[in-house]
Amino acid sequence: MDNIAGTKSSLTWVVHISVALLVILWLLPTIGLFVSSFRTADQIATSGWWKALTASEQNLTLRSAAPDTQVETNGLFVIEGQLFDAAQEAEISAWGINSRAIDAFKPGDTADLRKGGTITVQTDGSYRMENTEAFAGKRGQRVFVVATVPPELTFENYRAMLFSDENATGMVKAFFNTLTVTIPATVIPILVAAFAAYALAWMDFPGRALLIAVIVGLLVVPLQLALIPLLKLHLNIGIGKGYLGIWLAHTGFGLPLAIYLLRNYMVGLPRDIIENARVDGATEYQIFTKIILPLSFPALASFAIFQFLWTWNDLLVAKVFLIDATGQTTVMTAQIVELLGTYGGNWEVLATAAFVSISVPLIVFFTMQRYLVRGLLAGSVK
């Protein structure tokens, strides 16, 4: 419908470029974190993620082997070795032994150490320390290098977070906790809402219109209002903070949207089917379970995705109703906020943690986008 004669060709490429720009703008932040999660702490700290795929010049702080590895030959104490890790290939363009002059020497030069002795560093990172007396101290000599490091991506961050035994970041536990919160908090409201939606759509009883209006009103009640009274209630009746409490809370908060979406969908189902079934002697319960429920699958799926995304991504409800002082039941979002505090500058931990938590919703999003869009349209345009 936009085929205006003569203007099309000149406009089309403008449109293509603008869309491409928009997409890049929208993707860039996520890509940045994604790429970062595959880089080592050193790489992230010294260069931007956009340099991850090209060789980059980095300032590195490395350390020689400790003095207890020294070898004495003919009265000369020698420590030899390689500054870089075995797998790392890098080219040193300058180096130094003082943090204020990190590019004081060229590869092959020999520097005098402050505590006596000399050190020679080669381009490939191999070094040789010589001294006429034994090297003292516990730790090796610090060497600052300016090196060109080839791009290197690693799964180490994910391995350390998900499969190492120490599990220092607690993300594995948080992952299972999140799952434990999410699945019942998605399934239970669907069940409850489906019955209510059917009653509101196809059963006749006084007060039906009023109920629907109330539910539309409750759609926008901010859940901030519910925090204090319900926490008080949970503490009073003995549920306290825990899974039961958060399931109930998520059920309550998800219900208005669930009922609204499902009712709107069910009202649109053909009247004939339901009336025929009634004439044939089916009970309402049978009509609901055998006819309505299977036919409503698209709406059920839409809401399920919404509720899943919302409960998976939720922070506030979990902080209020689930996580107690022991922190044993923490969910991923809360754990990431925790990590932001404790690992504030450790982007390799943060990026990896964020992507562990984002991955599941992203998979759900890309596989079931159709239902998500349908649900959005039904929920707000009607």
Binding site: P29, I188, A213, L225, L227, I228, Y285, S357, I358, L362
Partner: protein, 335 residues
């Protein structure tokens, strides 16, 4: 017990309890209370059918009442009382409100919330409309849409981490790892900025996170509305020699005015409840406080339930006009 196993068990128990309620209560109604046989079969069926809707509705109404309706009342009550040390409550009148109004942090939160309310819905809707209009015209539009829509699936906390990296700052003598500072320096900036600590501007940097998330939502809905526009109107405009811009602003936008309004209000509600982004990125420091985070602060740090409830009521008050508008719209539709 392994947490996963424990989770699985509770899922099975919870879900089967739900199913059992509906199945058994219906059985009970039909077989025991009002059996559809015997001398009163007809009357029993009618009675059963009068009760059944409430049977279907009961769990939902109970949960809605307890988790959404009762809190409105209870929060109002709590906002008018004070907790007495050692237990119990005493009537405090409007003390909590006057105390809240006297706090500069509260006014900072109100000011920031107003900024959020103006900027986020406006930008999200504008970008959404632009993206919807542009992607509708090209072959790979659906892929583009799905990529712009993607942030919807990312949690506010995840988005906060993503954007914190964008805003990251390193000392001037090091390479910048945050892309915003890298661009700023490349364009000749004097020294790297710590974006999240510049008062007033840092609000904007937080808002961008939400705009980034909500634009996809606006785009999806507006794109459906744009497709619903009758083609004749556009064709007539083309025949009359309207330029593409004129077609967009004078023909298309007026026809989807209502949808734009719906998108705007939906995002407005999200904005009023925004908590996670501020909590994770600045926690209200450097003058970025917003109402929802102010309330969380009062509730769990200051442990002041009275003022916390009072600030929750302020959020409710701000949502109220939209609530009324929504209910009226829904009633009009049903008529």
């Amino acid at each position: 017990m392994h947490p996963a196993l424990q989770g699985l068990m509770t899922i099975v128990i919870g879900v089967s309890a739900c199913i059992a309620y509906f199945a058994l209560s219906n059985q009970f109604l039909d077989k025991v209370l009002f059996p559809a046989r015997g001398p009163n079969a007809g009357r029993n069926i009618n009675r059963a059918n009068m009760i059944r809707p409430w049977l279907f509705l009961f769990p939902a109404l109970f949960a809605l009442g307890l988790y959404l309706a009762y809190p409105v009342y209870e929060t109002l009550r709590l906002s008018l009382t004070d907790r007495v040390p050692g237990g119990g409550y005493e009537w405090a009148g409007l003390d909590n409100y006057t105390q809240m109004i006297a706090e500069p942090k509260f006014w900072e939160a109100i000011r920031n919330n107003m900024l959020w309310l103006l900027i986020v819905p406006a930008l999200s809707t504008a970008f959404g409309l632009l993206a919807a209009q542009l992607t509708d015209r090209i072959g790979w539009g659906n892929i583009a849409k799905s990529l712009i829509f993607m942030p919807m699936a990312i949690s506010f906390v995840g988005a906060s981490v993503i954007w914190k990296l964008v805003y990251d700052t390193r000392p001037a003598d090091q390479d910048q790892i945050g892309i915003l500072n890298a661009i700023y320096m490349a364009l000749g900036g004097a020294e790297p900025q710590t974006w999240l600590t510049i008062p007033l501007w840092n609000n904007l940097f937080l808002m961008i996170v939400l705009v980034w998330i909500q634009t996809g939502f606006a785009m999806v809905i507006l794109s459906a509305a744009l497709r619903g526009i009758p083609e004749e109107t556009v064709e007539a405009a083309i025949v009359d020699g309207a330029s593409p811009l004129q077609i967009f602003f004078k023909i298309k936008v007026p026809q989807i005015k209502n949808t734009i309004l719906v998108v705007w209000t939906t995002i407005t509600i999200t904005v009023l409840k925004v908590f996670d982004i501020v909590f994770a990125m600045t926690n209200g420091q450097w003058e970025t406080q917003v109402l929802a985070n102010y309330m969380f602060d009062k509730l769990f740090r200051a442990n002041d339930w009275g003022v916390g409830s009072a600030s929750a009521m302020v959020i409710m008050l701000l949502v109220a006009p939209i609530l009324v508008w929504n209910v009226r719209n829904a009633r009009n539709e049903m008529r």
